[in-house]
């Protein structure tokens, strides 16, 4: 069975383990997700399933989105995401947090918080310039980005200031410490990318 869910980050808290140690825990409201489409090698060239999450008022969706879900009379779902899997699943299958058990490890994928246009120190960990020796206005400067007369230009992709955050980030190998089937909650040990309320995808850990 595919181990994947779409969810919403609720926030962080502290929980105690059996030994009484406090753990930092991120809560995720995950599922129920429905299989909205199945992709197979014959038709699409690869196998995957599309999952939908988040029931909404049908007025919130466009006609095209509703039509896509209407084929199998699924509830109106706001978010659709694809998961690569070779497992046999049918359109309409319901996935819940019961897929996961306490102690298992998962990868959580989200969109990190946007930081805006940031300097090279914050964005790439550059050291900045010297503080003393008569230097002025150089403390957070990136310094030289390229070589000399040869090549006479800065190579593309050189690190420098620019937009930071709001990109896809994966937190790998987080341990599940809580599964609440009643409230569709999963608690993982550690932090998860994105703001509270942000959309996250939970998958079985790639590196076990």
């Amino acid at each position: 069975m595919l181990k994947g869910l779409i969810g919403k980050k609720v926030g962080m808290t502290q929980l105690f383990d059996d030994a009484g140690a406090a753990l930092p825990v991120t809560l995720i409201e995950a599922g129920p997700c429905y299989v909205t489409q199945v992709r197979n090698p014959e038709k699409n060239g690869y196998s995957a399933v599309q999952l939908g999450f988040g029931e909404v008022n049908p007025k919130r969706l466009t006609g095209g989105q509703l039509g896509h879900l209407k084929v199998t009379e699924l509830p109106p779902l706001r978010f659709l995401r694809e998961f690569r899997t070779k497992d046999e699943l049918n359109v309409g299958d319901k996935l819940t947090v019961e897929l996961f058990a306490v102690g298992e490890r998962v990868d959580v994928i989200g969109t990190s918080k946007g930081k805006g246009f940031q300097g090279a120190m914050k964005r790439h960990g550059f050291k900045g310039g010297p503080i003393t020796h008569g230097q002025s206005d150089r403390q957070r400067a990136p310094g030289s980005r390229g070589a000399g007369t040869t090549p006479g230009r800065v190579y593309k992709g050189a690190r420098g200031p620019g937009h930071m955050g709001r990109e896809r980030v994966t937190s790998q190998g987080l341990k599940i410490v809580l599964v609440d089937t009643e409230r569709n909650l999963i608690g993982v040990n550690g932090a998860v990318p994105g703001p509270k309320g942000g959309l996250v995808m939970i998958k079985e850990a790639r590196k076990q």
Binding site: Q14, L178, D180
Partner: protein, 115 residues
């Protein structure tokens, strides 16, 4: 949203009475040594309390041998705390008693408050 966070909170430890800054307390902590469990006592003055629901904590300061100050912060809901005994209340005019860190010996005394 916050309701979901509240739903998984740890239970309140019933063996911790209401604490106030300046209280002299004895914290009984469960300590696991291999497969044996014993209780260690940590006695000192509550110099700070942080009320934040599930993550609430308090800090106890005591003076160890040679006048070296030792501070330890406990989580209010930690299952590791066996019990807390309040031995006396003190008259203090601040919520955080950080000034105690600069004081030793006679000047580190607090006036007892009876109620």
């Amino acid at each position: 949203m916050t309701d979901l966070l509240k739903a998984v909170e740890a239970e309140v430890n019933p063996n911790i009475p209401e604490l106030r800054p300046g209280d002299t307390v004895s914290v009984h902590v469960r300590i696991k040594e291999g497969d044996r469990e014993r209780i260690q006592e940590f006695k000192g003055v509550v110099i700070r309390k942080r009320n934040s629901g599930n993550n609430a904590n308090f800090t106890v300061r005591r003076t160890a041998s040679n006048g070296i100050g030792v501070e330890r912060t406990f989580l209010m809901r930690s299952p590791r705390i066996d019990k807390v005994v309040v031995e006396r209340h003190s008259h203090v005019r601040r919520a955080q008693l950080y000034f105690m860190r600069e004081r030793t010996g006679k000047s580190a005394r607090l006036k007892q408050k009876f109620d």
